[in-house]
Amino acid sequence: MSNTEVPVDQVGTVPTPSTFDKVEHRADTVRKTMANRIGSAVAIVIALLWTVPTVGLLITSFRPERDIKTSGWWTFFSNPTVTTDNYVSAMTSSSINLSNYFVNSLVITIPSVLIPITIALLAAYAFAWIDFKGRSILFVGVFTLQVVPIQVTLIPLLTQFVNWELNGSFWVLWLSHSIFALPLAIFLLHNFMTEIPRELVEAARVDGAGHVKIFFSVLLPLLVPAIASFAIFQFLWVWNDLLVALTFAGGDNAVKPLTVYIADLSGTRGADWHLLSAAAFISMIVPVIIFVGLQRYFVRGLLAGSVKG
C-alpha cells in the first residue's frame, strides 16, 4: 500500500511550502505503515492461534508414549524423538484396530455421496425442464424441507428401520444420509440447471432428443463443476458426521465409522493421548486430502450454497 516512500535524507529539512506537502504525506505514510504493522501482527496472532492446536496434537502423535505422558509437546523441539508406533498400534492393535472403522467410514461415505447426487440430478432436471402440473408447488415443498432439523427425524426413522430389521446395517446409513442431503442438493443443482441457456435444450429437442438423451449429453457435462462442489460438501459432511452414525450405528462395531469410535475412545481412554492423537489424525487424513486437493470447488460450493438449512 505504501508505495510512495520518502527518502530518509529529507528527514529534518525545514518544511518550506514546497516540501510541506511531502512532510504531511510522510506523516500519513508513517501512520499507514504503523496501521499495517499492527494489522499484520493481529493477522499473525490469529493465524498462530488457529494453527498451534492442530500442530501440537500432530507433533504429539509422533512422539513416544512415555514422552507424551511426562512432558509437553513443545519440549519436542529441544528433544526431538520421532516414532510411528502410535499410528501402528492405533491401526493394528487388537483392542483399538482403527483400520476397520476407517474402512467403515469409506463404505458409508461413498454411496452416501453417489446416491443423493444421482437422485437430485434427476429431480432437479425435472423441476427445471419438464413442464408438469404442480411443479412449482412441489419444488417449493422440497426446498422448504431444508428447515427440518435432522434431530426431529431420528427416532421415527430408527423405529422404522428396526421394524424392517435393517438396523445395524450400512443400508440404514446410506438411506438416511442420502435423504437428508436431497433438499439442498436438488435446490443447488436446480439453480445451476436453470442458468443453462434455454436455446441449448430447445436445439437438442428440435433435433429429436428425448429427455433422457438431453439429460446425459447436453446438461450433464455442463454441470460437472456444480456436481463436484456438492459432492465434496456431502463427502465432508458424511465423513465427519457423528449424530446420524451414532443413532443408527452407534452400538455396532461392524458398521461404526471413525467419528463414532473416536468419540467413544475419548470417553473411555481419554488420557491415552498417544492413541487419541494418532486416531484423530487418521480420521482427518481423507477429508484434509479432499479439502486441500479440491479446495477450489469446495470454496465455490460454499459461496453458492452458503445458506445451508
Partner: protein, 319 residues
Amino acid sequence: MVFAVALFAAAMGLILFGVSRLKRPRKWVLAAAFVGPAVLGLLFGLVYPALTTIKASFYDAKGNNFIGVDNYARALSEDAFQKVLGNTAIWVILVPLLSTGIGLVYAILVDRSKFEKFAKALIFLPMAISMVGASIIWKFMYDYKAVLENVPAARQPKQIGLLNQVIIWMGGEPYNFLLNGPWNTLFLIVVMVWIQAGFAMTILSASIKAIPDDIIEAARLDGVNAWQMFSHITVPSVRPSLVVVLTTIAMGTLKVFDIVRTMTGGQFGTSVVANEFYTQSFRQGNEGLGAALAVILFIIILPLIVYNVRQMKKTEEVR
C-alpha cells in the same frame, strides 16, 4: 458397498431406460420417473418422521399416553433444562458473533497481501476436519494435571496441555478448563468458533473483493483512515453477506452436539438443547421429552431460516 451401488445404478438405469423407450411419453409419467425417487425418499425420511416426532412430543416417555403439553412445560420450567436452554442461548449468541468478527477482521487484514492464499488456508482448514477431531485437538490444549499438595513446584507433574503450561509460565496456577462452571461452556464455545471462523472468512472475503475499486479509491482520496474505511465502506458493503454468515452459523450452532458430547458429555453444566435431546431420547429412554426438545430446537431455528431465505432473495433481486 459395491453391491449396493450396483443395485442402485441398475434401478436408476431401468427407470431411465424405460422412459427413453416410450415413444410419446405422457408428462406425468416422465415427471414421476425423474422426481419420483426424490419425493418418495423425502416423504419417508423427512416428512413422515417430522410429523411423527411432533405427535410423540405430546405423549409420555414410552409413547403410550397422551399428556398434552406436559413435556414442553417440563422442558421449559425445570431447573436442569433451563440451564440447558441458557447454555444454548450463550452458544447461539457468542459463536456467530465471535466467528464472524474474527473472520471479517482476518479477511480484511490478509486481503491483497502476499501470503493471502496460504494465510486463508490456515484459518479455513479446521472446516475440513470433523467436530470430533476438533474436540480431541482442543481437549489436548485444555489438558489438566492436578496440582499435588505438599509437593515442591519442581516435582509437580508436568502439564502436557499447552494452555496450562502458558499459565504456569506466566506465574499462575493450572486450571481445569472443562470442569469448572460456568466458564467451561465458554471453553467449549472456543472450539466451535475455531471451526466456523474459516467459513465466515471465506464468504466475507469474497464479498470484500466484490466491493468496486472506485469506491475504495474515492474513499482513499478523501483521506479516510483504516478504521473509517472499515466502518464506513467495508462493513456496509458486505452487510448482506454478514447477515447470511451470522444466521447460517447460528443455525449450525443450534444443532451442534458433537463438541459437547465429545468434550464433556454434557456434564458439569455444559449441556445444550441438541445434546440434551440425544441424552433424553437415547440414554434416559424418555422419547416424549426428547421429541419435545427436538421440536423446540426446530421452533428456534425456524425464524432464522425464514429470515435467511428472505435476505437471500433480496440479494438475488439486487444482483
